[in-house]
Amino acid sequence: MALLELQGITAGYDKNVILKDLDFQVEKGELVSLLGSSGCGKTTTLRLIAGFSTPMSGKFMFGEKDYTQVPLNKRNFGFVFQSYALFPHMTVFDNVAFGLKMRKLPAEQIKKEVMEMLETVDLGGFENRFPKEMSGGQRQRVALARALVIKPDLLLLDEPLSNLDAKLRVKMRVEIRRLQQKFGFTAIYVTHDQEECFAISDKVAIMNHGVIEQMDSPSVIYNHPKTEFIARFVGFENFMDLKPGNSDGIYVLSDGSSIQAEGGRSESSIRACIRPEDILIVPEGTEAVNPLAGEVMVSTFLGKRNQYNVRTAIGEFEVSTDQESVYRIGDSVTLSLTPGKIILL
């Protein structure tokens, strides 16, 4: 059985329902990310697990116990806030020691554990500073140390890196992953940053309008999105409607021409998608697999790559290529859709 299990959770504020009948499971030792745009319910889910709010209906099981009504201070979960929420009137030492003091551990043990934890997050020697005397990245590490020193059964992180600059964010996410693997704790990580989330997680749950659309490992989500929402989220820009053709792996486009794609499907209407970088662009008339004739509408120089918006008989396609040759607006071209890269939704 999973360590953590949300069963049919419905939650919201007043009449405004944010989570609808949500099911969610996390195995022990996993780092699971909740990914989604703002307002999708990811933070609500996290706060609910933390015990900051209670669901309208549904059950929250943790370690085979019903945690739905367990008060916040009895859950033994660590929480890292977006705002860090360090106690401004306490030194770094007292901030980190807070949880242990609440557990009434002997002073010597508190001192030893806090100092060890500060060393672990690379903040040795900072114990007498106040939070306002530290940089964003250092505060972030204090917040992490404070949540970890209580040896939580579950670590919850609410967009912990969104207040840091880009370089520090990459450094800190490696740091979080390192700590997670060192201590082997189970963690739930909320973010709206796709790259960050794919880099750090064992599993990613993509949320949309209060439901989880897909939960899988990052590579599965990246390569095999299940819904159009997720496909758009992970960078599929081109969508088309297909009908099954007369043999397996052959499909008919809306303009009547047929293309090859992997996977046998027989529904009468199939939505398919392909990434801009999986389309080849060649001059008109060149021999190509899955050819689509079109005209360049917009040409954008992106440094390493060129991006073209090409109008075809079945709609506009976005193509991104690192080829040397440059096409101009109005050029007639042929697009070649790589068969293995066409994803059927």
């Binding site: 015990g51 900051f52 201070n73 660590g78 929480f79 705002s83 807070f98 949880g99």
Partner: protein
């Protein structure tokens, strides 16, 4: 908030007179007490320390509330949740987070209320009667009724010294509770 500020719309004189009406021998409070059988006959509620303290509370409570609202509103809810998730009970959160972070407002409020009470003249004069004298009414009595300006000046100097001493103590204590002020 509105309830706290509302008394400030009327002058201290009017407020003192209202308390006289309420607390007198035939006032509504005494009549109620007799009616309910709590006391056998009307008790003395007016022109003593009790009525003076009641007047002061009504006069200065809004100042304290306003000073506290300012700082307490600024305490992020996340801090309370953080303390809770680290295992603090509601009392623990109040003692370790809310109280220390409210110290600046508590200091401002205390100084305002203390100096206000010390220097108030109308309220103790009207509600305190002749037996309960405070420093402010004493100065008036010495100077205007008895013409003893020396005595009045001595009391005035004592008031200044007391004010400075108390403010210093309040500041010292608050710094101990919240070292970041």
């Amino acid at each position: 908030m509105a309830l706290a500020v509302f008394p400030m719309f009327t002058s201290p004189v009017i407020r003192s007179f209202s308390w006289m009406v309420l607390l007198g021998k035939k006032g509504i409070v005494n009549e109620l007490l007799v009616e309910l059988g709590i006391v056998a006959k009307p008790i003395s509620l007016l022109y003593n320390e009790f009525s003076m303290v009641v007047g002061f509370i009504q006069l200065f409570l809004p100042l304290m509330i306003l000073s506290l609202i300012g700082v307490m509103d600024n305490i992020s809810e996340d801090l309370n949740l953080a303390a809770g998730s680290l295992g603090a009970s509601r009392m623990g959160i109040f003692r370790h987070v809310v109280l220390p972070l409210s110290i600046p407002g508590l200091v401002t409020g205390s100084v305002l209320v203390f100096t206000g009470c010390l220097t108030a003249y109308t309220t103790p004069q009207l509600l305190g009667g002749t037996d309960t004298r405070v420093l402010a009414t004493m100065i008036y009595q010495q100077a205007m009724s008895l013409g003893d300006w020396t005595q009045a000046s001595v009391v005035a100097v004592i008031m200044i010294v007391v004010t400075i001493a108390v403010s210093t103590v309040i500041n010292k204590v608050s710094r101990k509770l919240n070292p970041t002020i």
